[in-house]
Amino acid sequence: MITREEIIKQTNEALKKEFEFTDEQLVPSAHLKEDLGLDSLDAVDMVVVLEQKFGVTLRQGYDWRSIATLNDLYNFIEKLAHTSNQ
């Protein structure tokens, strides 16, 4: 089963590649919209790259409003990864 550390590492790798973030920007408390500047179009592209990265379907049940920070995103992927492994 994928660990939380691995989820954080892979998520950050995908976001850095897609959105050209630096390591310093990707702190768990970073707000996706206010701190990282991601808008609704970026959110769609973020789902695409994370689905590819983790091999899971995020867009069903995905609610942008419920995921405000990077930490929320890690939690969401962790929950989904663990659910799909059960």
């Binding site: 959105f19 050209e20 500047g37 808008d39 179009l41 970026d42 769609v44 592209d45 695409v48 867009r59």
Partner: protein
Amino acid sequence: MEDSNTVVITGMGAISPYGVGVQTLWEGLSSAKNCMHTVAELEALPMVNTKVAATVPTVDYSFIPRKHRRGMSRMGLYAYCAAQEALRQAGYEEAPHNLGFFMGSTLNSIAVWMSLAHYIQDTHLELVKTSDFLQIMNHSPLASVCQALKINGPAMGGSEACATGLMNMGLGFLAIRSGLVEQALCGGTEEYHPLFSACFDIMQATSKNSNDCPAAACRPFDATRTGLVVAEGCGLIFMETKKKALERGAPILAEVLGFNANTDTENMAYPSAETLRQCMQGALKSSGVKAEEIDLLNAHATGTIAGDIAETQAAHAVFGPQLKINSLKGYIGHTMGASGSLESIACVKMLETQQRLPTHNLTQVDERCAPLQYDVKTDKTPLNIIMKNSFAIGGNNCSLLMRRHL
């Protein structure tokens, strides 16, 4: 004419097979630097006869904010570079309020379209990103440059294939003359894809006998020419009323005297000399200039057999045998939708430096081309007014006149 009705050029921006910038373009042209090269994808296609193209050298575009870059295919990136350069030369870091923007291309990004088509063929639509769609709208370069440089006036993306750049300059000129805007950025942008070469090859319009010597592949008016070389780039010109330029102390580079356009309804691909003649005649009338006042015709002349013959015959009918004529496509190939505006930038540089560029690779004029003054290199007479032609597949023709600013 009143300064408020006189349209002048105060900024120019270019990205071409020579690289980024107007100066790079001018240095490449005036030193006849070669930018033609063979294309590996074409060499791998035995049924395609042409193997040569002229493409923009690799550029690092990371200076463009990602937010804006995500909506830009290569032609959008080119347009951003050219727009920024033109605005800066005109004295602006960001666009002035109500700047008009008139720019288009022949096609949108074939590369992005092809990647989207793969998603559908492979039924992997879950891989489609919003940025893919943002890049392949017909007006994607126009829209993304507006967002990036805060251009908030009317933005229109006229698209007339190879005449796009000059048509949009005409639109900008007319928009200023009509009072719609005081200032306009206008021209065309294009990105190369081997399919361009392949399609023109099928239509027997490409250069095919100089694949082993790319520098000699495009030979407008020459007896040995076999066709055009596809190229890419972007040329944008900042125009405004003379009144506005004087008020804000902007250096004037040249004056736009007039513009005309018409459509050949006889054939999509073979231009008729008579329609071209009418187009040029109309441009003279629009400018209030007599035929004998034209010091140079910068021809569309792509190096195709039929096109060069028709254009020279039309020019002969309008101007007579004393007309000095050149074409720039022997240097940089046919930059398609960008050609009219990129070559107009070169025309402004010719007016500024009083230098007529010779037609590169022209060694022996095709006797089927009308008798005109093709050897312009040694001409030392003043260069005051240039007519620029652009013609497109589809029969879309236009001519624009520029005058040296003294």
